[in-house]
């Protein structure tokens, strides 16, 4: 079972880096992204026999080819960013909130319900505020339930939040069947299409202007909250070591529940923005897997909400582009999931080379500075 004859030095050794300069870290990440684009290019070429450069051009065209396409790209980036911002405090606390998908849907269902019920009785500005508040409460509740069990009985939060997603998805399907319009279509249809009651007003002539303003404000707010507030500091301590937190007199239970309330609330608000600010309808694709993608966004950005903007943009850009190449070259748009997967695998792998050095046999132990 054990081999003692370790006389020969292994071919490769790894050593932890003491620290890495920021430009070097970004150079490694950039190299990973470029490498992944090459691999994706090989994949595209082997499947389609098309020139990958042409395909990448088509991708760009699909995402930013016309002003309308650009706005759709921005709208979807903002959605993904909003959920990622919501997840940031939970993940910083090392609380694996896999339940964003469900929290978004709950916010969406409540918004759609209020929009249908009060569209004709409450004026739009008041209705918007009301819907924002109730969707925040809904998402909050969906996040606090698993957090409470985690805080008091140490119930596994990864699995609990994962299950809550599916409860929310079935609830959404239930509401879709309940509110079906027209009958037999199995969709809710656009709510208040004629009156536009409960819809976001356009800002600066842009239908999605308000989405951008709201989410950017959240992004900046969350950055400040995590970095400069006392509560943000408590989250960091609990995330690094619960024992240290207890020793320092921080109530881990309180911080856990409070942080998940915030996390769920922002995800619920994302559901509100998705329904009132962009689709004006509700279905399971209101979240459409973004709750899961946002986890990757939040993790890769290492909870820095400004970096999240870049990563969300990259992912949505690829998605939109892949839909374009799918229609242009007669493929199907699941190609975008493959390319997204390849790029994420490379970025995930590249973190290793940021934290560790690989030393060849006979290499020097000391780091070159």
């Amino acid at each position: 079972m054990s081999s003692v004859n370790n006389s020969k030095e292994p071919l490769l050794r790894i050593a932890k880096r003491d620290g890495i300069s920021r430009p070097k870290a970004y150079a490694i990440r950039l190299a990973a992204v470029l490498l992944s684009l090459v691999v994706s290019g090989i994949f595209i070429f082997s499947v389609t026999k098309l020139n990958p450069v042409e395909v990448y051009k088509a991708i760009f065209n699909g995402a930013f080819g016309t002003p309308k396409r650009s706005w759709v790209t921005i709208r979807d980036t903002i959605m993904l960013l909003c959920i990622g911002v919501g997840l940031a405090p939970a993940f910083k606390m090392k609380f694996w909130n896999i339940g964003a998908e469900g929290q978004v849907l709950i916010g969406g269902i409540i918004t759609a319900g209020f929009m249908r019920a009060f569209g004709s009785t409450i004026p739009t500005p008041a209705l918007l505020v009301l819907m924002a508040v109730v969707s925040i409460l809904g998402g909050c509740l969906w996040g606090v339930i698993p957090a409470t069990f985690k805080a008091i009985w140490n119930t596994n939060e990864t699995l609990f939040t994962l299950m809550m997603n599916y409860v929310a998805i079935q609830l959404t399907s239930y509401c879709v069947a309940l509110w079906e319009n027209p009958k037999g279509s199995n969709t809710v249809g656009v709510i208040n299409q004629a009156t536009k009651a409960g819809w976001f007003p356009s800002v600066f002539g842009q239908a999605y202007g308000l989405n951008v303003i709201l989410v950017l404000a959240l992004t900046i707010g969350m950055y400040i909250y995590l970095k400069y507030s006392k509560q943000g500091y408590e989250i960091t301590v609990v995330g690094d070591s619960e024992n240290t937190a207890r020793y320092a007199g921080i109530s881990v239970k309180k911080v856990t529940i409070r942080t998940m309330a915030i996390s769920g609330a922002i995800c619920g608000l994302a559901g509100f923005i998705a329904v009132a600010g962009s689709s004006h309808t509700i279905s399971t694709s209101t979240a459409g897997g973004r709750g899961f993608t946002a986890i990757i966004v939040a993790w890769l950005a290492q909870f820095n909400t400004f970096v999240m903007i870049l990563i969300s943009l990259l992912l949505v850009f690829l998605q939109k582009g892949a839909i374009q190449i799918a229609s242009q070259f007669n493929l199907n748009d699941y190609a975008s999931n493959i390319i997204t997967g390849i790029i994420l695998f490379f970025i995930l792998g590249s973190e290793f080379f940021i934290n560790y050095r690989v030393i060849l046999r006979g290499g020097k132990e000391a780091e070159h500075k």
Partner: protein, 329 residues
């Protein structure tokens, strides 16, 4: 409810259960090594599409396909493709030390993309009808034992399935025996409970984690194979069903409290809960959706229950989801 309805319900439950049973017993093996692989849906996708693609190309190029080769080609392709998915996950999380949850979710996105992309393309390739069909291979998977399936109610309930239904039960029992009655199984559990101690005892933690994850992924992939070959009879649809079944498989791991023999009855129970709306009269479409929530609610109840009771033997592996780096103890 008539007897015929009851039999139909139980049969649907068993077929449904078998898909998620493969997924979850593969994941149990993986989780016993301390790896929480959230890529199960992606892995089941990989298994399903590879089995389908392999048998499609075989049947496409051979006018008279031999049943044995049909079976071998699709089975091996499904297992290997799924195990490769597990290898990718292992390489990233064990060797490159990436985060397990994020890597697993990425694998789910990737696997779903690969399967639906090539599934859609195969449907196009299959010609004018626009629907792939591997009738010969599917027939092998759905063959029942002649004579036994005709034995009235008993035959219909016990012997009316393809061989993979029985194989799933065998795999579950063998895995239970392996984990609890063999030296290697004990070592594997030690790795999942406390890798540092296992390492100190001379167990090769890396090798155990790699092997358990890859073999576990291969077994999970068979769930996808059973789904394409038997459950939907050798066709393909880009409807995302495998993904939701994959998450149910993850739920079943918890429900079975990490014991593969519990997954046998647990999976049939999940099937029953999922299909029970068929026999309840006068249900609207909306209420059906609420009934489909049942398996998840039951899983949440079990999850809360095991954390409340704190029985030692029902807990998840102690280092589940945690990374292990020897030099960072």
């Amino acid at each position: 409810m008539t007897l015929a309805q009851l039999i139909r319900l139980l049969q649907s439950s068993v077929c449904f259960g078998t898909v998620i049973m493969y997924g979850s017993i593969g994941e149990i093996l993986t989780e016993k090594s301390g790896n929480l692989n959230l890529g199960v849906p992606g892995i089941m996708y990989l298994g399903g599409i590879s089995g389908l693609a392999a048998s499609f190309f075989y049947e496409f190029n051979n006018p008279a396909p031999s049943p044995v080769i049909c079976l071998l080609v699709s089975f091996v392709a499904a297992f290997l493709a799924a195990a490769l998915g597990g290898l990718l996950y292992s390489f990233l999380t064990i060797t490159l030390r990436a985060n397990q949850n994020v890597t697993g979710l990425t694998l789910t996105i990737f696997g779903g993309g690969v399967a639906n992309f090539f599934g859609g393309s195969l449907n196009t390739m299959a010609g004018g009808v626009g629907q792939i069909s591997v009738a010969a291979t599917s027939a092998v998977y759905r063959a029942t034992i002649p004579g036994l399936s005709g034995l009235g109610t008993v035959g219909a309930l016990l012997f009316n399935y393809g061989f993979m239904v029985y194989l799933a039960i065998v795999v579950a029992i063998v895995m239970h025996w392996f984990l609890n009655r063999t030296r290697k199984g004990l070592n594997l559990r030690a790795v999942g409970e406390n890798p540092a101690t296992a390492d100190a005892a001379g167990i090769n933690v890396t090798r155990y984690k790699y092997l358990a994850t890859c073999v576990g992924a291969g077994i999970s992939g068979l769930g996808g194979l059973y789904y394409t070959m038997d459950y939907i009879k050798g066709t393909w649809a880009n409807d995302g069903t495998i993904e939701s079944l994959g998450w149910l498989a993850v739920a079943l791991v918890i429900f079975a409290t990490w014991r593969s023999v519990n997954a046998i009855w647990g999976s049939y129970l999940f099937g029953l809960l999922f299909w029970v709306y068929l026999v309840i009269p006068d249900l609207g479409r909306d209420s059906i959706e609420l009934f489909k929530m049942l398996p998840y609610l039951v899983t949440i109840a079990v999850l809360i229950g095991i954390s409340l009771r704190k029985k030692r033997e029902n807990q998840p592996p102690a280092s589940l989801g945690l990374p292990y780096f020897r030099e960072e103890r």
